[in-house]
Amino acid sequence: MRILIVMTLLVLAGCATQTAAITAGGSQVELRQMQTREYDTLDKRGTLRSVVATLQDLGFVIDKADYELATISATKLQNYEIRMTVIVRQRDGDRLSVRANARFNEKPIEDPKSYQDFFSALDKAMFLTLHKVD
């Protein structure tokens, strides 16, 4: 019985930290940072096309794409489900910021590694696009 209580507490503790992190101070800035990357370009179309190509490379299917609002939503189905939304915005007049957020099954992804992997794949696609522009 004691083991049972300990295990239940472990379960609650393990999951509680994840939800608490959303409202905890400072994490909002951190979350934005890990989800955002800036590129030295104003080529919105090229950037969005790179995002779409990267998502396809990673095995996503595009659910929604809007050029005017610069948003892309996509889903990946494996033994799990990942839903991802990418929004492109202009920054400081000479740069574009790309922000991605994703959820894994029903939980938001707050692990920096996933976003690092996504952006390193996007970097490669963006490199080609930017060099085309030059």
């Binding site: 083991i3 179309r45 190509a53 050029y67 494996q78 692990d111 996933s114």
Partner: protein, 197 residues
Amino acid sequence: MTLRITHHDSDRVPRFVLLAPVILLIGACATIPDDAFRLSESALETRQLQTREYEGVTEIEILSASSAVLQDLGYALDEVEKELGVLSASKRADAKNAAETAGKIAMDVADCLLTIFLGCESDSFQSSKDVQDIKLTLVVLPDLDNSNAHTVRVTIQRVIWARNGELYDQETVNDADVYQAFFDKLSKSVFLEKESG
């Protein structure tokens, strides 16, 4: 005989109760697989089988030829964004596969015989495939090296449902034949589009 079974059952219950939090822990806090956002080793190969190049046609011509093919195949268009060359479509189709279903039914029957005392008539054959929801994205990209050419990349996913309404499987389709068949139809459609335009 009956006594022995009861004894066995009472032994099993506390063990299951002990396991429940562990199962919960694994289920509720499942971690993201390492390769979820990484290009797999077969990414290039997959890209090739999902991609074809078309020369001498405009992006709009390819998009209209594609929507015509999708209509031929009974898909409904969910999303079209011509500025980005993106087109998404879906359909629900039969997922029954005679051989697989037969195997599954045989297993269900075997299951049924094993659990005959618990009663299983409502469960038999229910775990076989029934319908699938197919979702397809087609993206037209201008070729970076050749301004007169476009590449078309198609990605397909499907969710398969069992007859009892439960999720049977969800996957990205990687079968080369499926993409080949699609592009054969698309090539014909692009040709017709060019002729009529």
